[in-house]
């Protein structure tokens, strides 16, 4: 088998080389003609504006009057020494870890349950998937009511003495002084995590379910032949096989979580002492309320970089895999 494949790729490569030497064929001209508009548009409206944002973030434009004089890294230095931005970074890290961690656990658990060849499986699948159809704004408003400390679930919880301040709680768990802020897990952020997990778990369930269906029965049967219990089969065989799915879930959820704006904005706002603030909200308020355009652009650039930290290695990784 193998030698044949090698031969094939070789011929393909050589044919590309020969066409390059010749004039472009009409097919290629057509292809370029079709692609050129979108390439130009992307160049301007995606990469052009990313560069523009980067340029603004290095300027002094912090009022209604545009001022493009070069400010160096002044805006970045300000942000990293700013109480609010430090709190934002803390909240984003805590939110991302809790959100993705919970989603992976819940997603796997529910997918395994759904995979037990139960009756009305498609009904349950739909139930779990439905919250995905809502916008984050709707989720935010609903959970804001549910987790309101003076109404909502607290009316019920107070009967059993388990009242919580939810998203108005200003305590920070396991906190220690770090920069200007107290670093730790803000209790208020857990309320936002609950809402986000409620909405996004269905997505993870669908991914894992597809993954589980992709594992051939022979694998389980072989494990059973070797005397593994059902629990062992999942722990040692199935879940390790789902690792590529987990990577995809982490990547997709990380870019949602790092850029999150609508859920927080609709549900809690920045919160007392900025316990539920995130860079997206700060960017919006700095730019469109305070007219700190350069500061806002700097926040946007930092958000872009933080997402790229997750996405770029994934793209490289998956490209390498595709090439091999």
């Amino acid at each position: 088998m193998e030698p044949v494949i090698i031969k094939k790729t070789k011929t393909v490569k050589s044919s590309i080389k020969t066409t390059k030497k010749r004039m472009l064929s009409s097919d290629q001209l057509l292809a370029i003609g079709f692609l050129l508009p979108s390439i130009l548009l992307i160049a301007v409206f995606v990469y052009g504006f990313i560069s523009w944002t980067g340029y603004v973030s290095l300027s002094n434009w912090n009022s209604l009057v545009p001022d493009f004089s070069f400010a160096g890294l002044k805006n970045y230095v300000f942000l990293f020494s700013d109480f609010r931005f430090q709190a934002d970074l803390r909240n984003t890290v805590v939110f991302t870890v809790l959100f993705i961690g919970t989603i992976i656990i819940f997603g796997q658990f529910l997918a395994v349950l759904l995979d037990q060849k139960i009756r009305a499986e498609s009904l349950f699948r739909n139930i779990f998937f439905f919250p995905m159809a809502l916008s984050f704004v709707v989720t935010g408003v609903v959970w804001q009511w549910l987790l309101n400390p003076s109404t909502g679930v607290n009316l019920f919880l107070s009967k059993i003495g388990l009242e919580s301040m939810w998203y108005t709680d200003t305590n920070i768990l396991a906190g220690f002084k770090w920069g200007k802020i107290e670093f730790g897990v803000p209790v208020a952020i857990t309320a936002v995590v609950i809402a986000a997990v409620w909405q996004m778990t269905g997505f993870a369930v669908a991914m894992y379910l597809a993954g589980l269906r992709g594992i051939p029965d022979e694998v389980r049967e072989a494990a059973r032949m070797d005397g593994a219990t059902e629990f062992q089969i999942y722990r040692k065989v199935i879940i390790p096989l789902l690792r590529p799915i987990t990577v995809s879930v982490v990547i997709i959820m990380a870019h949602i979580s790092l850029k999150i704006f609508d859920l927080i904005y609709a549900m809690t706002g920045p919160g007392a002492n900025f316990v539920t603030d995130v860079p997206g909200v700060y960017m919006f308020e700095a730019t469109f309320r305070g007219n700190y355009y350069a500061n806002g652009a700097a926040i946007a650039v930092i958000m872009l970089v933080s997402v790229a930290v997750f996405i770029v290695p994934y793209l490289i990784f998956s490209r390498r895999k595709a090439e091999s």
Partner: protein, 425 residues
């Protein structure tokens, strides 16, 4: 392999772009239509205020039936969304014919400083308005001796609303000094009633409370010096105000950060809290939405130690540079500034007229009292509503206040105020 990946990536992007481009082209179509219409840009979409705006537009249409009007209101409390839309339109040189803007820094340090507004001195002269509006108010819409907008209404910021029933049952008088306030608060707290309702989910409400304390402790004169650099934020009087504010925060409801100002007013209406400091748009909320009666269910006094002073919030309309129909805009502004126009708008909106010669009988008891106070009182520009200082400064103060409400670190708060003040001119 490599190539096909690139092709697919580009294809996906082109799909995304085509989706974007279709929406932007429809936007262009809308602009062309609007260029001849008189586009009135505001954030008046709530109950009462929308009716007021419609009454005003109707009055204009009766006078000038041949000028087509477009009501371009953007929803969102305190104009937060509208201001973002306005900023991008102004920067893109596509201004609306006229737009709502708070008198004071929001106008002067914002659009006038950015050289986006036409002067209206000739309109004021032609209509004889120079002695029809209070001088302090005209100063609020002027920069370097030129007038830039027409005030349509006045709201008062320094009002303490209280639940009459609670006060009667506990034998309390509405407090006019901070001492009396804390005495009453202590008694109420002992009875298990929240003394002061606050809803600072949007941080400006906490700033609003703070500015009334500042005004009470400093007086209108020193208060206005804060914004021009005449008085430093580490002055002993400011520190006293910060300490007083801190003490007041000890009497607020625990779930303040989950509430907005309406929710906080509701606490007072339902009798769960006794007092609330909010601008007099809260009266509209009490009367129109909650069906309460003025001086029966709820009462009002100026916030502690601000008797004779008036925290003024005024909505004004101006003429941006670069509009095609400047003459039509001036016709509209003339209606807006007339007695007729102000009396059509304000009773519905629940505010008082900016003119001193409006018809008092059209207003309810609160309105009548406030019109009286407005004539006599010293005016002070509101910080929380963008009149006293630039939006940039306000954003920083809001952040400092938000931190202070939780941490209650007075020194740190004064330091943040001081460092924010370096932006004031």
């Amino acid at each position: 392999m490599k190539k096909s990946i690139w092709v697919s990536i580009v294809l996906i992007f082109s799909l995304v772009l085509s989706a974007c481009s279709s929406s932007s082209s429809s936007g262009d179509g809308g602009d062309k239509k609007g260029s001849d219409k008189l586009e009135i840009f505001s954030w008046w979409t709530g109950a009462g205020e929308e009716d007021g705006l419609k009454a005003l537009i109707k009055l204009f249409e009766d006078k000038y039936p041949d000028v087509p009007i477009e009501n371009a209101a953007v929803a969102g409390g305190a104009g937060t969304n509208a201001k973002a839309v306005l900023a991008s339109r102004m920067q893109g040189n596509d201004p609306p014919a006229t737009f709502q803007v708070h008198g004071g820094a929001e106008l002067n340090e914002g659009w006038v400083a950015a050289d986006k507004m036409e002067t209206l001195n000739d309109l004021y002269e032609k209509e004889g308005w120079n002695d029809k509006f209070p001088k302090d108010l005209i100063d609020l819409v002027s920069k370097d001796g030129n007038i830039y907008s027409v005030p349509v209404n006045i709201h008062r910021g320094n009002v303490l609303w209280y639940n009459k029933k609670i006060f009667e049952e506990n034998g309390l008088e509405a407090p006019t000094t901070f001492e009396a306030f804390f005495e009453a608060a202590e008694k109420l707290k002992a009875k298990g009633i929240t003394p002061l309702a606050l809803g600072d989910k949007e941080p400006w409400t906490a700033t609003h409370l703070f500015e009334t304390v500042l005004l009470g402790k400093l007086g209108a004169e020193d208060y206005s010096k804060l914004w021009t650099g005449g008085l430093s934020f580490d002055d002993a009087k400011v520190k006293d105000a910060v300490e007083t504010y801190k003490k007041m925060l000890g009497y607020i409801n625990e779930d303040h950060s989950s509430r907005n100002w309406q929710d906080a007013s509701q606490l007072v209406a339902k009798g769960e809290a006794a007092m609330n400091v909010m601008g007099d748009w809260a009266k509209g909320y009490f009367v129109n939405d909650l069906k309460l009666k003025v001086n029966e269910d709820f009462g009002y006094v100026p916030t502690p130690e601000t008797e004779g002073q008036f925290m003024v919030i005024t909505d004004t309309f101006g003429l941006p540079k670069g509009v095609n129909n400047a003459d039509d805009v001036k016709k509209f502004l003339a209606v807006l500034g007339s007695v007729e126009g102000q009396d059509a708008f304000n009773p519905l909106k629940g505010s008082i007229p900016a003119r001193i010669d409006a018809d008092v009988t059209k207003y309810d008891q609160y309105g009548k009292d406030t019109i009286e106070d407005f004539k006599e009182a010293k005016l002070a520009a509101s910080l929380a509503h963008g009149s006293a200082a630039s939006e940039g400064f306000l954003t920083k103060v809001n952040q400092a206040v938000n931190i202070f409400v939780t941490q209650k670190d007075a020194n740190q708060f004064v330091d943040s105020l001081k460092s924010a003040a370096t932006e004031l001119k």
